[in-house]
Subunit: 153 residues, 4 copies
């Protein structure tokens, strides 16, 4: 899992620049907590205005950070001049998303030329306790010849 070799020497800067352009991340208050080739961790503090009817984080918000963690884990391994696209994901909600802080961790399990398969888990932290709340299995696509972040002139 940790033996991935990035094909783009500038992978980290590329991922961070693309993440910074995801306006929804600022809107919900999420940030990149950790980054390695084939791995991305996103952190989201709990906010009362991101919830479902019982005061837990809405499954769609849990999915938002899991999808970006999965997507950037995949993107970190893609060549220069490529974009990443989510083809599909499946998410199991294993426990109510209750906690002070949530961590979504995307791990590439198969990096293909066109398609990359990624697992992501979302963990809730409350006090010193950590508990998995969601599990994702996702397919990401590499669009070559179409840089994710346009050059600025």
């Amino acid at each position: 899992m940790s033996a991935f070799k990035p094909r783009d020497p500038d992978w980290e800067n590329k991922v961070r620049t693309s993440f910074a352009r995801q306006t929804v991340m600022e809107t919900i208050g999420a940030r990149i907590a950790s980054l390695r080739p084939g791995f991305c961790e996103i952190e989201l503090p709990y906010r009362r205005d991101l919830c479902q009817q019982h005061g837990f984080l809405h499954a769609g918000i849990t999915t938002t950070i899991a999808d970006s963690a999965a997507g950037y884990a995949a993107f970190s391994l893609m060549p220069p001049d490529a974009s990443v696209l989510t083809v599909e994901f499946k998410v199991n909600l294993m426990a109510p998303a209750a906690g002070d802080r949530f961590l979504a961790r995307g791990n590439v399990i198969k990096a293909g030329r066109t398609l990359t398969v990624v697992e992501a888990e979302v963990i809730a932290e409350q006090g010193g306790e950590r508990k998995p709340v969601a599990q994702m299995l996702a397919t990401m696509m590499c669009l070559e010849g179409k840089a994710d972040v346009p050059e600025r002139g």
Copy 2:
């Protein structure tokens, strides 16, 4: 699809009250557009601050409205004193979520005593055009003896 008979005469009020408690819906600007037993449609106008890196609606936000549409379609058929819980969903992102307005439509395809299977599609509107952008297949769970919206005293 339209022959569902609600088991709770107060189903519509129950769904609307529960939806109103989903704080994330107000945060992103979504509202219920249409409601029938076994069906729920949620509308979300495009907002630049809910996007991924290319300016399209983030897949997690698309999922947020699809999940609530699916969940409330299921909840509309549940008995009184029951809560709805998302067990899992799978989403195919079929096209970039570009548009002025998005409609998520949840349709129950199998209502069981404990588990309900729901399909949801998300459609983008741009000018007069409509285009499907996402397809969801989800499992919802009925928690009996645990009213979704607590009584107020």
Copy 3:
């Protein structure tokens, strides 16, 4: 759903020839029941030796016919000199697969250049009754420049 225009004039022959090469179909006793551009129906009579522990059709066999129905629905729309590959699928088992005969019906919902999204349902027939037992949402891939059925010299 019915407005699909095949890109290969020989699509029907191509699908039938490829299906005939799926040895598992003969092993389990499945055959193509119906075929249109973007649609494929596969029929499987019940057999006691294809079951899980309670005497119902095993979910993996239900999936086998659903996957082929979905794959050939997608393949019917692909250009000449292309192969079809299953990227992933998700299946909800909605009722025990009890019946005399099972019908898997694949319907393309989005045909893209590289990826095609397909829905499939599996229906059980018992006496005159029909009941949906499984629902699939799948992603199929088109491999261009790699004919599915090799020429014979």
Copy 4:
């Protein structure tokens, strides 16, 4: 993952007896290779009559062993007098299922009272090499008060 404590002292016998009743396993030539609480491994030698059009194991057969591995991993943790039922699964086919032998390994990741979430991977062996070919994320249901294997009088 390995700290699961079975609630039924007879769990191993129960799992093996139930597996023996899955007629499809004998039909395709699969057997249990390894069993622990929360874990089940199923082995399937390659057979030419279980293939898709290119001579690889059909995705439905890959799924058949993955589903049983996942189901019995879950069942091993269920109380006496309970049955296991597959609610749904999602499978990513990561590489062509080419090999002499296939191993499906189910691992429980969350055991709940009613629902259990299980991951399963399918590995292909060829010569001394092992390669992952499929990844499953599944939901299993516990039906209490309904023994999986009927008593014999």
